[in-house]
């Protein structure tokens, strides 16, 4: 006899214990654009709330940015579901325990609200057409609801990941929502800043929005650090997997470190260079935001595929490894 098993073989070691989500680029793009659309409405609402008079250009641009970021979202989700009519199944019931249900309803309502607020901006600026009163009332209602719906739309995608059995998502469940909301707000404010800079708005408008963008980026760095600390036991796919390069270089390096450095140095630059720095900063921030969602979705898939991670996560204590099988029980097959 030449072939003997020297030690317990573990034939199932490579087979995942849980199933990974099927999410790919469609959903990653939706997380990114939906996040910006929601956050831009949030920023528009906050701008009006802070100082309606002084921020009216900022709020207007934010509402238009939101509308255009929202437009591809339903298309992306319908492509993911394969048939348009399937999205209607989402609206059969409301389930507060399901982030997917909350998200679907929010997206549907937000679509109306964001459209209303964009229409209100474009109609309100010119007095050529006077729409009927009921129509104006609907536009006012939609615009008023949009910022709150925007917060939910921007942040629920974090909860969507958190409320799963996937170790790297579930472990950091309290961090991903704030991380997504903050990152989306940074992206949205950055876009608004660039549009204001390139348009004919007074420079102080863009400066104020830029100030908010800076605060959001710093907060994002802190949240990212907190989240990485909380998922330290499950961060292998983030630090060594397919997501590692984009996460390290695009999310952290290009998406946070560079734009913050640009923001710190740009006041010393001459005017045209400052405009270029703003546009470049926005491009980098958006790249970072997209890379963050890519990294999280891809790391989640790898985390789900890792049975060791799942067993550690479900062993009862977060750090201990599952007990190695002591197999007195194997006697029934022994001679």
């Amino acid at each position: 006899m030449t072939t003997r098993h020297p030690s317990p073989t573990r034939p199932y070691r490579d087979v995942p214990v849980i199933h990974r989500a099927h999410w790919k680029w469609l959903v990653i793009l939706y997380f990114f654009l939906g996040g910006i659309a929601g956050a831009a409405q949030f920023v528009a609402g906050l701008a009006s709330l802070s100082d309606r008079q002084r921020n009216h250009r900022t709020a207007r641009i934010a509402r238009l940015v939101s509308f255009f970021a929202f437009l591809p979202c339903p298309l992306l989700l319908v492509l993911d579901l394969r048939k348009p009519s399937r999205f209607l199944n989402m609206l059969r019931i409301v389930k507060f325990r399901s982030p997917m249900s909350i998200g679907s309803w929010t997206l549907a309502l937000f679509g109306g609200a964001a459209t209303a607020s964009a229409l209100r901006e474009t109609l309100g600026s010119e007095d050529r057409v006077v729409p009927p009163t009921w129509f104006r009332a609907a536009l006012e209602l939609g615009s008023a609801a949009a910022p709150a719906l925007g917060v939910v739309l921007s942040g629920y995608t974090g909860t969507l990941l958190a409320a799963t059995a996937v170790p790297v998502w579930a472990k950091g469940s309290r961090w991903i929502g704030p991380l997504f909301l903050t990152s989306a707000t940074a992206s949205a404010t950055s876009l608004v800043e660039t549009v204001l800079t390139l348009g004919d708005a007074p420079p102080s408008d863009a400066e104020r929005v830029g100030h908010l963008e800076g605060i959001c980026s710093v907060a994002e760095v802190a949240l990212l650090a907190g989240w990485l600390r909380s998922v330290a036991a499950y961060d292998r796919p983030l630090l060594r997997g397919e997501a590692a390069w984009p996460f390290r270089h695009l999310t952290v390096g290009a998406g946070l470190a560079l734009p913050l450095a640009l923001r710190a140095f740009s006041p010393r630059l001459p005017r045209p260079a400052r405009t270029a720095a703003t546009v470049l900063g926005t491009g980098l921030t958006l790249t970072g935001g997209l890379a963050l969602r890519y990294a999280l979705v891809v790391a989640g898939a790898e985390s789900a595929d890792d049975p060791e991670a799942t067993f550690r996560f479900t062993s009862g204590s977060a750090t201990s490894h599952p007990p190695e099988a002591k197999l007195a029980s194997a006697t029934r097959s022994a001679p």
């Binding site: 098993h5 317990p8 573990r10 034939p11 199932y12 087979v15 995942p16 849980i18 199933h19 099927h22 949030f42 906050l46 701008a47 709330l49 802070s50 002084r54 921020n55 900022t58 579901l81 394969r82 199944n89 989402m90 019931i93 389930k95 399901s98 982030p99 997917m100 249900s101 917060v151 942040g155 909860t159 958190a162 409320a163 799963t164 059995a165 579930a170 309290r174 961090w175 929502g177 903050t182 707000t185 104020r208 908010l212 605060i215 907060a219 049975p307 479900t314 062993s315 007990p323 099988a325 002591k326 197999l327 007195a328 029980s329 194997a330 006697t331 029934r332 097959s333 022994a334 001679p335």
Partner: protein, 274 residues
């Protein structure tokens, strides 16, 4: 052989899969595929052979609702007189039909329902293939089917139950390793069997599916129970899974706190000049 059980609406029914009686014949897999008209599935390698002992279906999935795993373990030298002997722990895995099911909570369409038999069932005409139940199951049971692109899993033979028949897998099992019946009775049976196994020297015998092992963390127990003789991980089962939906409230709460923080920052950055 146990008496055939007729399920009556209102009484929770489920499985008791006693792994000590499983002989790895896969009659359950075949009966399940035949009754539910499920196609053969490609194993992970895509070449027809997985290389995992006698197991070529590898995992539960959209087209495999019963899966017999062949866990190869080395028997203790003390009982094999020093010679290395490989033994099999065989187990027929299936949907756990959780008391509080992660998939059902996650489902946004209401396609996943609890039937009159207290089983968890995916209505194929309502499922829209969003796929969220897939990562929300702590046991890796539901999966999206390739062609229809909807989530599929064990129905606990809902159609057979309605017709007064027991599930196909339990019917086909030649050793009664798979038993079907009212969950309350199965729980008692499982506890007795574990007691018996422990008395016979199987010190690690355990019921998988009560609120201490398998049905933990808000899941509230399983309606598909297992009798195991080694730690759950040996059978590729999580020891103490938790209900994923329980994490949603905390996540929403911290997101709202972040929103409040951003609002405060905006009032400073965008507010009137002081």
């Amino acid at each position: 052989m146990a008496e055939p059980c007729h399920a009556s609406p209102g009484t929770p029914v489920g499985f008791l899969t006693d792994t000590t009686l499983c002989i790895g014949c896969k009659a359950c897999e075949v009966a399940c595929k035949q009754w539910n008209q499920l196609p053969a599935d490609e194993p992970l390698t895509g070449r027809g052979l997985s290389g995992l002992s006698y197991d070529n279906t590898v995992d539960l999935g959209a087209e495999t609702w019963r899966h017999v795993s062949f866990v190869e373990v080395a028997a203790e030298p003390s009982v094999t007189h020093g010679s290395p002997v490989t033994a099999w722990l065989m187990m027929s895995d299936v949907c756990k039909h959780c008391v509080h099911a992660g998939c059902m909570e996650a489902c946004p369409t209401g396609a996943i329902i609890r039937t009159e038999f207290d089983t968890v069932f995916i209505q194929p005409d309502v499922c829209n293939g969003c796929g969220y139940c897939v990562p929300a199951c702590p046991f890796g049971v539901p999966q999206l089917s390739d062609e229809a692109h909807i989530a599929r899993k064990c129905t606990l033979c809902y159609d057979r139950l309605r017709g007064g028949l027991e599930p196909a897998c339990a019917k086909a099992c030649p050793t009664d390793s798979i038993r079907f019946g009212p969950v309350a009775e199965l729980r008692v049976e499982a506890a007795l069997r574990v007691e018996q196994l422990r008395a016979a020297g199987q010190g690690q015998a355990v019921v998988y599916g009560d609120t201490r092992v398998g049905g933990t963390g808000g899941i509230g127990g399983l309606n598909a129970l297992f009798v195991l003789t080694a730690p759950p991980e040996t059978y590729h089962l999580p020891a103490k899974p938790a209900l994923p939906g329980d994490r949603a409230a905390g996540s929403y709460a911290t997101t709202l706190v972040a929103a409040a923080g951003i609002a405060a920052a905006a009032l400073v950055a965008l507010g009137p000049r002081r």
